[in-house]
């Protein structure tokens, strides 16, 4: 796929943590571009800096060097309200990402109130329906829901302001395998229905291969190579590390793909 016009672009992104004398570079000069409507994945082992990139892009961590652009405009370090309407994030742990004392309806009503969006009640019902939760979940507390149901609520919360871009931080890794497949299929369906752009972070090749067209392989804070989902499936990699990584999980990919399809 030839890049046409980048929706999101990272240019020379570097992120460090720690005090001045003992600073460690977690992300080192990373560049990538994501086109509109595309799903891009970041793969790598734990601690390689993939989630850190996501947190920097989402605006949770403004301490980075380099540039992040959205539709060719560089993003300011403190993001605008408009940015938060266009870009939304789904977190890894559905048990921690929902307020324990708020019913589903309140969770979904909050973003609408912040952005002053009308028809709140109808939108809540529509969005719940879109993520496969019926109206009976509307007045539930999170502790009354299963992990998969909570993650659906979290996805509904991200979708309710009708964003263009969804940042997915290992959205299925806290769920068990059968529920993972449901959530992945939901994410795939939503992307087609709503013409969304995804940036997905995962250590799970099967998940990336299922959702994304392209993925960046990360190792020690750098993107060492980019692969298409086809290349991942056929484990065609140029770098030794990537080949090793693919080899280690290739059986799981094949197995999981059957289950998901």
């Amino acid at each position: 796929m030839k890049p046409t016009r980048a929706l999101i672009e990272a240019i020379g992104l570097s992120i460090s943590f720690g005090a001045k004398h003992a600073r460690t570079r977690v992300v080192d000069d990373v560049s990538f571009r994501i086109n509109k409507g595309e799903a891009y994945g970041l793969i790598g082992e734990s601690g390689c800096g993939k989630s850190t990139i996501l947190r920097a892009l989402s605006g949770l961590n403004s301490d980075y060097d380099g540039a992040l652009t959205l539709t060719d405009k560089e993003l300011p370090k403190t993001r605008s309200k408009d940015f938060f309407r266009r870009v939304q994030m789904v977190f890894q742990d559905p048990y921690g990402s929902l307020h324990p004392r708020k019913i589903v309806e309140k969770v979904l009503a909050e973003p609408l109130a912040i952005h002053g969006i009308d028809r709140a009640s109808e939108r809540i019902a529509e969005t719940l329906d879109a993520v496969g939760l019926g109206p009976s979940f509307r007045y539930r507390y999170p502790h009354e829901l299963s992990g998969g149901q909570r993650q659906r609520v979290a996805i509904a919360r991200a979708l309710i302001t009708e964003p263009e871009i969804l940042l997915l931080d290992e959205p299925t890794s806290a769920l068990d395998v059968s529920v993972q497949a449901e959530i992945l299929n939901l994410l795939r369906r939503l992307r087609i229905e709503r013409n969304l752009t995804y940036l997905m972070v995962s250590h799970d090749l099967a998940v990336i291969a299922h959702i994304c067209e392209r993925a960046g392989m990360m190792y020690k804070g750098k993107i060492i190579e980019e692969l298409t989902s086809q290349q991942i499936r056929q484990s065609q990699a140029r770098q030794d590390y990537t080949r090793e990584f693919l080899q280690a999980t290739i059986e799981a990919v094949a197995r999981r793909d059957e289950a998901v399809a």
């Binding site: 990402s97 324990p100 708020k102 019913i103 979290a154």
Partner: protein, 313 residues
């Protein structure tokens, strides 16, 4: 029951099967319904906790005694009768009379009003101040946190009663001043608690999610952090009531709280001190009342901690 009538107003779709079925319905049909079901579960948990229930009963009895004092009292609390001074408990005077011949039972009932008035008013002043200071310091961090917490430290450096004493000495004796003094002395621990609670939740994903929705700091503090702190603050405040009652009684005892003719328990205790060897009831009865009330608030607070803990949902 009041919540039954409320629910009928708020939810006309309530089935005819009654309140119990409505509370146990598997699928809540409105936000109000969901909240009532949660309250119902919490009430059931409280009901199975014997000591908390005992605490609640004593507190309710106290509240009733304070409310119905004019009806329940048998004598005028200010009427002195020197012919009937220092009488032991009898049919005429259920809990005896004091050194001026006033009925101790009636004075005890009216004293409950003053005690609860001080305890409740102090709580109403202290809880919001502590909550706002603590959550703001904890969430914003940085120099806001440093400034607010150093102020808290200054207040915490003095023992509660000493600080209250100093304020009362400056403001002058009286119930209102006692309330202000006790409030000034007892908001800092609540601010500390709220801050500690805030620090554990400010990094959580659901707060991060709210930031990513574009929520302002004020919206996050008031709408998302405070609801998480309220249970522990409620518990703390309930436990604090005992301390407030004791401080108020202490101030009364030292002559800096309520002034003598008024039947405040600490004042009654202090005036009975001289007669404690000959007429034990004058000191023992208000003393027992202070003890029971403090104990009841402590037990209730303990029980509330069990049911309101967020980990129990």
């Amino acid at each position: 029951m009041t919540d039954k009538s409320l629910s009928q107003i708020a939810d006309p779709a309530m089935p005819a099967a009654g309140l119990g079925a409505w509370l146990r319905a598997p699928v809540p049909t409105s936000p109000f319904h969901a909240r009532m079901q949660q309250l119902w579960l919490q009430w059931r948990r409280l009901r199975s906790n014997a000591s908390a229930l005992f605490g609640l009963c004593v507190v309710v009895v106290m509240l009733l005694a304070a409310l119905l004092a004019p009806i329940l009292a048998t004598h005028d609390i200010y009427e002195q009768n020197l012919a009937a001074r220092l009488l032991a408990p009898s049919f005429q005077h259920w809990l005896g009379t004091d050194e001026l011949g006033r009925d101790v039972y009636s004075r005890l009932l009216f004293g409950a009003r003053i005690t609860l008035y001080i305890a409740l008013l102090t709580t109403v002043i202290v809880a919001p101040i502590g909550l706002i200071v603590g959550t703001t310091a904890g969430y914003l961090g940085g120099w806001v946190d440093t400034v607010l917490m150093r102020i808290v430290d200054v207040f915490l450096a003095f023992p509660n009663l000493i600080l209250a004493l100093a304020f009362v000495a400056a403001l002058g004796p009286g119930i209102q001043n006692a309330i202000i003094a006790i409030s000034l002395a007892s908001w800092p621990p609540i601010a500390r608690l709220a801050r500690a609670e805030t620090l554990t939740i400010r990094k959580s994903d659901y707060i991060a999610a709210m930031r990513l929705q574009g929520a302002s700091s004020a919206r996050i503090i008031f709408g998302h952090i405070m609801p998480m702190c309220i249970p522990s603050v409620v518990v703390r405040v309930t436990l604090n009531m005992a301390a407030i009652i004791l401080t108020a009684a202490g101030l009364g005892f030292l002559g800096l709280g309520a002034q003598p003719p008024s039947p405040e328990w600490g004042t009654m205790l202090s005036s009975g001190r001289e007669f404690v060897m000959t007429s034990w009831w004058i000191a023992a009865i208000p003393g027992t009342a202070i003890l029971l009330t403090s104990l009841a608030f402590n037990l209730l607070g303990d029980g509330l901690r069990d049911i309101l803990d967020p980990r129990h949902g």
